[in-house]
Amino acid sequence: MNKAIEVRNLQKSYGDLTAVNNISFSVNQGELFAFLGENGAGKSTTINMLSTILPKTSGEAFVMGHELGKNDDEIRKEIGIVFQNSVLDSKLTVKQNLLTRGAYYGYSKDEIMNRLRDFWEEFNLEEIWNQKYEKLSGGQRRRIDIARALIHKPGILFLDEPTTGLDPMSRKMVWDYINHLREKEKLTIFLTTHYMEETTGAGNVVIMDKGNIIAEGTPAELRSRYTAKKLIWYTQANDDNRKIIENADVLQYRYEADHYSISMDEGITDFVWKNKDRIKDFEIIKGTMDDVFLRLTGKEMVS
């Protein structure tokens, strides 16, 4: 499969401080690639380097086959970015924002309007076209940010925490747009997020901590590698039940409201089978990406 991004030993230092330390990874074309890490882990710095905003200190990277630092103009034509904090002008209208941004790429007004027709209806641009950006709702603003990032038909879309601060409804809406566009435009998506559930559809996940890559794989691989399965046993809390659990090879357990939550590496089905007379109401769930993150960094993601 063709690589949309290939990074080898990429490093960014500010004096003695190393923000990104010798990282290597690759992103396949058309893939949803998730980049996870706490604030300050080096995610945004990596995006800023790959998008030619910041110069790298060392290492090499190729974006759509163009070498970073040598063919930056070509890279800029291939990438669109939805920044963590919007970079559109609050006092300008949607029209003014999108037409001026389109012009940065050398497009005429007609060319920009033609391009916008591709998502005019899906993004409901008609309704907000002459409204000031600052008057839009959070979800509408994000839509316009995405429209801006796609105005020049890039091959890669960088999404830097695109749904942070949005209500669940707007988050879902934004993701519906992203998934639709990914399908329609055959986009490669490079995502950083705080919401672990947003990574479940990713083809590949990279987790960063303090400038280093600490894990890489598909969500399923990471979950099976770094988390234990959980047995949720709906029952009452009593000594008999507790003894059964403590006699088994469990990693940890706790009682919550109406059930025991029991973490086990292996042997859950044997444990249930062995105690089938007592364990009547239960479910077995895999560890989540939150658990993966917690296990690897010792910190919970803050949303």
Binding site: I53, D73, I79, N85, L92, A103, Y105, Y107
Partner: protein, 306 residues
């Protein structure tokens, strides 16, 4: 063509951002408005009285109307000269705000080159400032023509617009040289406070520069904006002064004309030298060109440190 569209897109965006921020327009006009208010309240009288006293010996040869026209010219010089500092400054605040908000990241990730992004701020500030200062100039001429009158040929308007263009370009270049090191708006506001307070004195709007000691005069005259104020003063008051001299008819051997030009700084005085206007223009152009080159080559380096 594509390249030009990119640069024009940036310039247009920077101008739109400035013109949609009414607060910024108001604050850029604050110092010129203060000068107008001060003139109406007391500065006009403090200038008219000594001139009247000085020409009293010449009897009716110098009319009160001409003195009013001369002082009106000084007022408009003060307003335009300070506007030529505060308006470009406010127009350039867009650049600092973009840096603070990281909006320039968005521009940096497009095919437009860094140097073009930087020069787009410069050109946008020059254009917005020129439009505003010319508006101020016409408003000023209108208001002062009704209140006491102005004295200059209509052809002078074009020369004056030429000086305004030179003034906007030089002030924008010099101010941008300093502002390229500002990383946030609080630094900008602090500097604006200083600029507002000092600009009126530096360009001789509140009191003539000749009132200051020689060292301060030297420093002030090295500021290009002061040179611009001298050029404007020559165009706005030179005509009426010449007319007054003609009315005196040589009775004072040109002493009145000489002393008025001396008191109200019709020429730059730098380290004892009395610069002709051509030399002042040459100096302003040199400083402007050096500033533009410095911006063009230093600014991209300051960007990479973010």
């Amino acid at each position: 063509m594509k390249k030009l569209r990119g640069i024009w897109g940036l310039i247009k965006r920077n101008m739109l951002v400035f013109f949609t921020n009414k607060g910024s327009i108001f604050f850029s006009m604050l110092t010129p408005l203060i000068i107008l208010a001060l003139y109406i309240l007391f500065l006009k009288n403090t200038l008219v009285s000594p001139i009247e006293k000085a020409v009293s010996e010449l009897g009716e040869l110098v009319s009160k109307d001409d003195i009013d026209r001369f002082v009106n010219g000084l007022l408009l010089t003060g307003i335009m000269s300070t506007a030529l500092l505060t308006i470009p400054y406010n127009a350039l605040e867009v650049m600092v705000k973009d840096r603070e908000d990281k909006t320039f990241f968005d521009m940096s990730a497009t095919p437009v080159k860094r140097s073009e992004i930087i020069m787009s701020y410069f050109f946008a500030a020059v254009m917005t400032s020129f439009l505003q200062v010319v508006t101020v100039m016409f408003l000023g001429i209108g208001v002062l023509t009704v209140n006491g009158g102005m004295y200059f040929e209509s052809a002078d308007i074009f020369k004056l617009m030429g000086i305004v263009l030179l003034g906007t370009i030089s002030s924008t270049a010099v101010l941008m040289f300093f502002m390229m090191f500002f990383k946030n708006m609080s630094t900008c506001s602090a500097f604006m406070g200083i600029l507002s307070a000092v600009s009126g004195f530096v360009v001789g709007a509140y009191i003539p520069l000749s009132e200051f000691n020689e060292n301060i005069q030297n420093v002030c005259n090295l500021v290009p904006a002061t040179g611009i104020s001298i050029l404007i003063r020559n165009y706005l008051t030179g005509g009426v002064l010449k007319h007054m001299d003609e009315c005196i008819g040589g009775l004072d051997n040109g002493e009145f004309l000489r002393s008025m030009k001396e008191i109200f700084s019709f020429n730059s005085k730098v380290f004892g030298g009395n610069w002709e206007l051509n030399k002042t223009v040459f100096y302003i152009i040199i400083i402007t060109v050096v500033s533009i080159f410095a911006i063009r080559f230093i600014y991209p380096k300051t960007y990479n440190k973010n």
